[in-house]
Amino acid sequence: MTTTPLAPGSTSAYAAPDALGRFGVFGGKYVPETLMPALAELEAAYQRYRQEEGFQQELQGLLRDYVGRPSPLYFAERLTAHYRQPSGAGPEIYLKREDLNHTGAHKINNALGQVLLALRMGKRRIIAETGAGQHGVATATVCARFGLDCVIYMGVHDMERQALNVFRMRLMGAEVRGVAAGTGTLKDATSEAIRDWVTNVETTHYILGSVAGPHPYPMIVRDFQAIIGQETRRQCQEKWGGLPDILLACVGGGSNAMGLFYEFVAEPTVRLIGVEAAGEGVSTGKHAATLTQGRIGVLHGAMSYLLQDSQGQVVEPHSISAGLDYPGVGPEHSYLKDLGRAEYYSVTDGEALAAFERVSRLEGIIPALETAHAFALLESLSQQLVGNPRLVINCSGRGDKDVQTVMRALG
């Protein structure tokens, strides 16, 4: 068992963010003054502990024994055969099995790293926002593990469609506070978590769950998730002695995608593809396709692409998947898009549902509805590929939590 250091070795040509927390024009710290000292404190703590051997040993030990890392890189044989064309062309599809982590998604990687920071900063109260509930569950889990007070903000609409995760959080001792503002989804839960943090900042650490929010969050969350890509590199090396050709991941805020991509950003032969939620279709206005349909704006502390109306009011997004139902996106994704380094596409609710069923039947793996969006892009992408490129999908979470939503949607 090798331990993987946080600092990536291969991305030296790509140094972002800068000292002000900027990824090009994106990122920054657009927050009330009250939070500025806390962000500075968090950044200082992170810069100190990321280097410290004791911190790394504790984190790596927990990732191994508590989370169950490394997660496997699994060859999806039947899915590969399904997309094999008569000519023999088609991708070799591998799944990075983050769904096999403790709590069933990649979110635990970040929650664990941040809770260890919180403990070292002397913060005994933890808050978090959650959409699908996976980040809320991960946060409730690490708080139970370390005996910390935990409050999770969740939109009332999401509490209904992710009832199973609400129960899991409460079972582990977290208080789940419903947020009725707006559409009662992730955006509103995040705003309310930030308000709580503004009010209780001296005793509280906010475990933000995506590569979004004010600096240093996009950097910290990316770095704690970067283990996904680091393991993938090693596993590709073991399996075929080379790099993957294509990486594919779903993007809401973008943490699982960034976790997979980051290790390979400086590898120009590796195609990076993110998939957003087109909801009922981008032409209907009921979607969450921020990178493909949004304009530059500021939400929840960061400048990034944003779904907004002509007056600069943030519009309510829509996706069948609670975890992608967000009008913003992590600033580093906006940066990678504008650099032309990563490509972003969107798929509809219907396409995601079809992929949810397809992967369940062909591989015996029920993916999260979020993850199903990444699988759904295979329908069009695999037709365009030449030869047999090795394609790694971040299988970012398991779909048990979504079964009721899917039952309703499929009638």
Partner: protein, 263 residues
Amino acid sequence: MRVSERFASLGSRCALIPFITAGDPDLETTAQALYRLDQQGADLIELGVPYSDPLADGPVIQAAATRALGRGVTLDAVLELVQTVSPHLQAPIILFTYYNPILNRGIPQFLRQVAQAGATGLVVPDLPLEEAESLLRPAADQGVELTLLVAPTSPAERIQRIVAQSQGFVYLVSVTGVTGARTQVAGRVADLLHQMRQMTTKPIGVGFGISQPEQARQVRDWGADAVIVGSAFVQRLHQPEPAAGLQSITDFCADLRHTLDQP
């Protein structure tokens, strides 16, 4: 009149700055409210531009913004209102707006329109010092003063840099938290005021959480140059009948003014 000029004209008198949300319950009532507040002794008036994601605001102002947006109130409509009303007011209007609507409009165009409408002050609660640089100089060029905020959590070294850059006055946030009424004002505000006095000659206004005349007087006695009262006005204005809301804020403003004018 510029915000700084208004403060200069007041001498040692403690200024009263009410806050209301534009377009709640409707723009006509907002116009009437501005006239009434001006007549009842408001020295400056903060006018909130409704925004979909008001991170720094508590439930009362959030709800007011949601109601205004629900009625279709836009930035253009708010600016039009300011243009109509401001020539008739003694109190300068300070626009309180989040950053995204500014960015969406484009900074130069936004500032031009604000200046044309006759608002002379600007408060942007999600634009801390580091990000405010993009707005400070262009605002000054248009004759609009951008006031920066100091929080109870701000370290001394940071306060020093904020007061140096803030225009018009310095906005001291009296609570670690969002806007909204509190039962008492933290004693820490007295220390912060004292500390800031050593750093700047600019006027210092204290806001967030002040909802009662007695609290306003206490903040005045601690040495504040201005008291900003927001949620308490927004709450009073929110009545089934606009006339009742207007009467309520008229009485409340007079009450605050009276208390602040007592020795």
